[in-house]
């Protein structure tokens, strides 16, 4: 079945993006287990290199900056398929897109010219907002940026930075006017190799283990003033807008994982014989599978619609939060049910569902927890009912 046969949100070329991303996903899948077991940064570098060569790093970068000039729906389909093959790779790609989107959303022409062609070609991006004491309360960051002779000097530490150890380009948020709270934050592009930019320890994580997550230290890093994204003190808005995009991408990753979990459950239930017949003949199993598909369909609808609205340049703050909240929470349930259907064997490293069970867990935490999504939704709740 083609996407367009049951969703009104797509155009013909999206089928091509989906089928291509599926090819890529099948390739990534071959090493997904090894990448997970080793927490392999090396495999991730190779995966991203392949994605770069095929054009995925610049999928939504306009052609004039060397990208593919495609839309949010293409991003969604790519992340969905890629996360089906290797969730960690999709997670890293999502981190890269956050950096790209920050520049796309806030950058002036010169900054776009300077960085987008590289990010669309082969440079990996990272988005550095979170700090030890500023997670959900992102406006409370304490990293400072002070102007000095045409430079900004950045001091502070960032935590849980996806792609920290492999990124070439960092989008860093720092306070330029600490007294102004969220309205005193500025976004900067910091290049790897800039003196004082230090990559700290890699986190040993439960899931998406091949996607490196690092501390990043800024020890008096001199950043040229031209590397400010947009205007000084207006960085927080850029971060929020990039994260809104990112949420649709996270929902897409949830869909990829959910679909794989459901497929694995069906395959297993069809082949597992108990009480003299395949367990899929049991209504208890059938009901679980039906619930899983129902949740998956709802996730798809919300996510594809949010992406479609984003492509129509609508404000998708609410729709992105709804899609992320629903799709990632649904993915957790779907993966959990799939493991339940697998029974004991599903709890072992021999089964892909064991990896998915760990990988899926980050999705309701990263890029805005489910609780933050609910806050965002609540802020828009009256508008939604108009």
């Amino acid at each position: 079945m083609k996407l367009r046969d049951y969703y009104p949100y797509f155009e013909d070329f999206h089928e091509d993006i989906k089928s291509l991303a599926k090819n890529v996903s099948q390739e990534l899948e071959k090493r997904a287990r090894e990448a997970d077991e080793k927490g392999s940064e090396e495999i991730m570098r190779e995966n991203l290199k392949m994605l770069a060569e095929l054009g995925f790093l610049g999928i939504n970068v306009p052609e004039q900056y060397g990208g593919q000039g495609l839309d949010e729906r293409s991003v969604v389909l790519s992340l969905e398929e890629i996360s089906r093959g290797c969730a960690a790779t999709a997670f890293s790609l999502g981190g890269h897109y956050l950096a790209v989107d920050s520049i796309l959303i806030g950058g002036d022409e010169a900054l776009k010219q300077k960085f987008l062609p590289r990010l669309a070609k082969d440079s990996v991006g990272a988005f550095a907002l979170t700090e030890p004491n500023a997670g959900s309360d992102a406006a409370s960051i304490v990293t400072r940026a002070e102007k000095k002779n045409g430079y900004y000097v950045l001091r502070g530490e960032k935590h849980f930075i996806t792609n920290g150890s492999i990124a070439d380009v960092f989008v860093v948020f720092a306070k330029t006017s600490p007294e102004k709270g969220a309205r005193g934050i500025t976004a900067f592009v910091v290049e790897r190799g800039t003196p004082g930019l230090l990559i700290g320890k890699k986190e040993e994580k439960l899931g998406v283990r091949a996607s490196p997550t690092n501390q990043v230290f800024l020890d008096n890093v001199e950043v040229p003033a031209e590397n400010v994204i947009g205007k000084v003190d207006e960085g927080f808005k850029i971060a929020m807008q990039a994260l809104t995009r990112g949420r649709i991408g996270m929902a897409a990753q949830a869909i990829g994982i959910s679909r794989l979990a459901l497929q694995l459950a069906i395959n297993y239930a069809e082949n597992r014989m108990q009480f003299g017949q395949p367990i899929i003949n049991q209504q208890a199993i059938q009901f679980m599978l039906s619930d899983m598909l129902t949740m998956l369909r709802a996730s798809e609808e919300l996510t594809y619609k949010a992406a479609w609205l984003a492509d129509r340049k609508a404000d998708v703050t609410l729709e992105a939060a709804v899609a992320k909240l629903f799709a990632t929470e649904a993915a957790k349930l779907i993966v959990d049910k799939s493991m339940q259907i697998h029974g004991g064997i599903g709890y072992t490293r021999d089964q892909v569902i064991e990896r998915l069970y760990r990988d899926v867990r980050i999705l309701t935490i990263a890029e805005g927890t489910s609780e933050i999504q609910r806050l965002v939704i609540f802020r828009n709740i009256k508008k939604a009912l108009d």
């Binding site: 079945m1 090819n23 060569e53 054009g55 999928i59």
Partner: protein, 276 residues
């Protein structure tokens, strides 16, 4: 070597490589008719037969070395067009779909005849490459038959292309018991295995450009000047499928023996099979 010094009868401008590709049902989406024991082909997306991917890749690599063009030919219903577009995304320059009700119901002989006729129609072909077999039919007969019909030398189970120039190809053929190296004069037909080349994944640009590419559609009439159209499709197919059956699983006999008896029984069996 000068291009025009090549094998007699080839007065080409370009080095022309034809790939025989079969659009086959996507194994992820395929459904079976349990009663008839056949694959439900209606409405099922057709993809490049996975065994043909290395054939396309090898052709593109040869083109990258020697220049020329890669032409992919398929015989399939109209929905085979998507698979041909994918072939273009993977580096083919031209795609030809033989599609006509008169091609329908073909066995390997009639299929090979149609493909060979298309190659004849193209003319000036220097190299023909086919995959090992198809995932749906699994016969592995077409490349060899095409070669015979065209009167060309052919090598089966090619697992490595050692060298190629405008006049000959040196290949390794992986037969189950041994690996044989052949030198084949061009034009020739190579039936290649999965190991011959690692298929590349198309780029986003390539994939989107392929959407706009034109897949040429040839009917039976398009070949009528050089072929006997009565040899196409079901008319040209001597193979009669009597019935398709799904083999029933044989119940295993359960024999329980004690250790001493058991060891003796196993040893006896192995002796009988000549393994001990």
């Amino acid at each position: 070597m000068q291009k025009n010094q090549v094998a007699a009868g080839c007065d080409y401008v370009n080095f022309r490589i034809v790939v025989l590709m079969k659009p086959t049902p996507d194994p992820d989406k395929v459904r079976f008719d349990a009663e008839k024991g056949t694959i439900i082909r209606e409405g099922v997306e057709l993809i490049i037969n996975p065994y043909d991917l290395p054939a396309i890749e090898l052709a593109v690599q040869v083109k990258e070395k020697l220049g020329g063009e890669v032409i992919v030919i398929s015989m399939a219903p109209p929905q085979g067009e998507e698979a041909l577009r994918d072939a273009i995304a993977r580096g083919a320059d031209r795609a030809i779909l033989l599609t006509d009700r008169r091609f329908a119901g073909a066995d390997t002989l009639a299929t090979s005849y149609a493909l060979a006729s298309a190659i004849r129609k193209l003319g000036n072909v220097n190299l023909v490459i086919g995959g090992e077999k198809s995932i749906d039919g699994d016969t592995a007969q077409v490349p060899g038959e095409v070669a015979e019909m065209l009167g060309l030398p052919h090598v089966s189970y090619v697992s490595r292309l050692i060298d190629i120039d405008y006049s000959r190809a040196i290949v390794e053929s992986d037969l189950e018991s041994e690996v044989v190296t052949y030198e084949a004069p061009l034009p020739c037909v190579l039936q290649v295995t999965l190991n011959v080349a690692k298929p590349r994944i198309p780029t986003i640009k390539g994939k989107l450009q392929a959407r706009k590419a034109i897949v040429e559609k040839w009917s039976a009439d398009a070949l009528a000047d050089i072929a006997d159209i009565n040899r196409f499709g079901i008319k040209g197919s001597p193979t009669m499928v009597y019935r398709v059956v799904i083999p029933k699983e044989k119940e295993r006999k359960r024999i329980i023996l004690d250790t001493e008896q058991g060891v003796k029984a196993v040893v006896d069996l192995l002796m009988k099979e000549g393994l001990l």
